[in-house]
């Protein structure tokens, strides 16, 4: 039972990272019509920016995370204005190639600047927190409160604020939103800001949870982010929030002993891949999407 509860907690933490990155990627997909293959690299960039502030500059992790969030949002905006906006209307295939090229550039810049060695933040990774019968690693102890505050906040932002509402409207039907007087151009900028900021937070959380990381950090979870996006339904922000948590918990629970003796932990990503393939086969519109022509 303890193992079950611990797996749920670990799964929720992984799931929170996927949800944060997934919401951004899904909204960008829906609003800008861009499958952003560089989204994983935004996470990597954030993790290294936080590392730069945290270790060489000696800031605490909270300040470093704030810096990483701001920096990644700026990066996303910068890429939007310099590369992606001038290429608007080129279609999904062309945009996939461009973002894949951007991903290569970003990843290798991080490799060149930061080197191949494994990094970790200045936090004590060996400490164990006891929460009732649960034992929680410091990474999770940081990530859980952040996730419980931020995920509802994102949901609220999308549900209640004018910006959130117009984002969902544009993602749902761009033309209809435009003739209702929504400034589609401005929403496009806002969505990159939001996606960049969430990817920034997700990247630092991922690095904290993993304990140590190298420049492949974000690329390794890219396909999990995309699985989240498809699971939630492309362009569906709430869908991505839920799908991230579901995917994270499902991957960790599969290793539970009570589940047919438990899957070997090394097969967790394989499980996600199977989820993706089955999903494409039977329910490509995602868990919550409507069956339209895809």
């Amino acid at each position: 039972m303890t193992q079950f509860a611990e797996l749920v907690v670990t799964g929720l933490v992984t799931g929170a990272v996927l949800a944060l990155a997934g919401v951004g990627a899904s909204l960008v997909f829906g609003i800008q019509r861009i499958p952003n293959f560089a989204h994983g690299e935004y996470l990597t960039f954030a993790a290294y920016l936080a590392f730069l502030l945290n270790v060489p500059f000696g800031q605490n992790l909270v300040a470093a995370t704030a810096g990483a969030i701001a920096g990644t949002a700026l990066l996303a905006i910068g890429i939007h204005f310099v590369v992606l906006r001038p290429l608007r209307g080129r279609g999904l295939v062309a945009m996939s190639l461009v973002t894949a090229g951007l991903a290569l550039m970003l990843r290798d810049v991080v490799f060149l600047v930061a080197g191949t060695q494994v990094r970790q933040y200045a936090i004590d990774q060996t400490k164990v927190f006891a929460l009732g019968f649960l034992r929680i690693s410091p990474g999770e102890a940081v990530a859980i409160p952040i996730a419980t505050v931020v995920l509802p906040a994102v949901a609220l932002l999308l549900a209640r604020t004018p910006m959130g509402k117009s984002m969902r409207a544009v993602a749902d039907n761009r033309d209809l939103a435009a003739i209702s007087g929504i400034d589609v151009e401005r929403v496009g900028v806002h969505v990159w800001l939001l996606a960049g900021a969430l990817a920034g937070l997700g990247g630092v959380m991922l690095a904290v949870v993993e304990g140590t990381f190298d420049p492949n950090l974000g690329f390794q979870v890219l396909f999990l982010i995309f699985t989240t996006v498809v699971l939630g339904g492309i362009g569906n922000a709430y869908g991505a929030l839920v799908a991230g948590l579901v995917l994270g918990v499902a991957m960790d629970l599969a290793t539970w002993n009570g589940f047919f003796g438990g899957l070997d932990a090394q097969y967790k990503p394989v499980l996600a891949f199977c989820v993706l393939i089955v999903l494409l086969l039977v329910r490509p519109q995602g868990l919550f999407g409507r069956a339209t022509v895809l």
Partner: protein, 326 residues
């Protein structure tokens, strides 16, 4: 190694031939049928691993194992294609990225089957080094002996490999030239341009797309086999996801839709790639070889973005037949 070493040029040319086969697979999928496949490297890896495992563990003769390797690549194509060809193009892109990662992940982690991070030398465990390559070397030796009656001392196994790779690449280029001009190729191009119109004239769009995907998968598998035979030992790191983007760069060099530009692109790319790997004269000597690998990948990404931004038809392409505007 310096520029005047013939071994260097033989190596460049062999790799160029392998890149031709690799890029040709993407050409069929992407340029003809409009299927964005970002996990082409998975087909290479699956074929190479299947071949090596069958030769080493099941003591199968090389040609049979090679055929099974190609079958495995096509099977992976089915796994990817059957769920996703009915859907919008981006779903295949996502599934193929996932497949590329997955194959490499499994190759690294299923060490009882694949030798783990050690790769092919660890197939029977770290203590027993067994090569899958003996049959291939044997073939090249016999070929070079046969050639020595014509070429004299210039016939070496390396040059026999060069001959094999380029004959294969040339034959495949010719076959696909014919295929592209055949009714089958025209249907694929019609689907690429307008799926609805192709459906309206009674073409089974999903079936044609799947055929293109599987043909490309088989070519990817063949490129994987050739690469495995060429390098002799391989590990999961020889099938990095970035290999796929080398192939895209080779394609975009010819504007994505010029079949005859593939060998040109492959030769230029192979020269640049191999040159920056092994040559050490002045501007290259400023950067150590570790950083050069990352600089090279950075340049691949940069060139992709740059071409897409300012010259989407590539260096040799034709702006009027441009599949990237959709």
């Amino acid at each position: 190694m310096d520029v005047f070493n013939p071994a260097f040029w033989t190596f460049v040319a062999i790799m160029a031939g392998i890149y031709v086969v690799l890029a040709l697979g993407l050409y069929v999928q992407f340029s003809l049928a409009g299927l964005p496949n970002f996990g082409h490297v998975a087909f290479m890896a699956v074929a190479a691993y299947t071949m090596a495992i069958l030769v080493v563990r099941a003591a199968m003769p090389l040609p049979v194992a090679a055929i099974f390797g190609l079958v495995a690549a096509v099977a992976l194509g089915c796994l990817l294609g059957i769920p996703s060809v009915r859907l919008r193009a981006d779903y295949l892109a996502i599934a193929s990225v996932a497949a590329g990662e997955m194959v490499r992940y499994l190759a690294t982690n299923l060490s009882w089957l694949t030798g783990g991070p050690l790769g092919s030398v660890g197939l029977l465990g770290p203590a027993r080094f067994v090569s899958y390559n003996a049959g291939w070397q044997d073939l090249l030796d016999r070929l070079s002996r046969a050639l020595s009656s014509v070429l004299g001392s210039a016939a070496t196994p390396d040059r026999a490999m060069l001959l094999v790779v380029w004959s294969l690449a040339g034959a495949l280029l010719w076959v696909f030239r014919r295929l592209e001009r055949s009714p089958w190729g025209r249907v694929l191009r019609a689907i690429r341009e307008d799926e609805t119109a192709a459906t309206a004239v009674g073409k089974h769009v999903a079936a044609f797309k799947l055929q293109a995907l599987l043909l490309g998968a088989a070519l990817g598998g063949l490129a994987g086999l050739l690469l495995a035979w060429q390098i002799g030992v391989f590990s999961p790191n020889d099938f990095e996801p970035t290999l796929t983007f080398y192939a895209y760069l080779i394609l975009i060099f010819g504007g994505m839709n010029r079949l005859w530009a593939i060998p040109v692109g492959a030769a230029v790319f192979s020269l640049l790639y191999t040159g920056t790997q092994f040559l050490t004269f002045f501007p290259l000597s400023l950067v150590d070889s570790g950083s050069r690998a990352f600089l090279r990948l950075f340049s691949v990404g940069f060139l992709l973005v740059l071409f897409m931004m300012i010259r989407p038809q590539g260096l040799l392409g034709n702006r009027r037949e441009l599949l990237l505007e959709k």
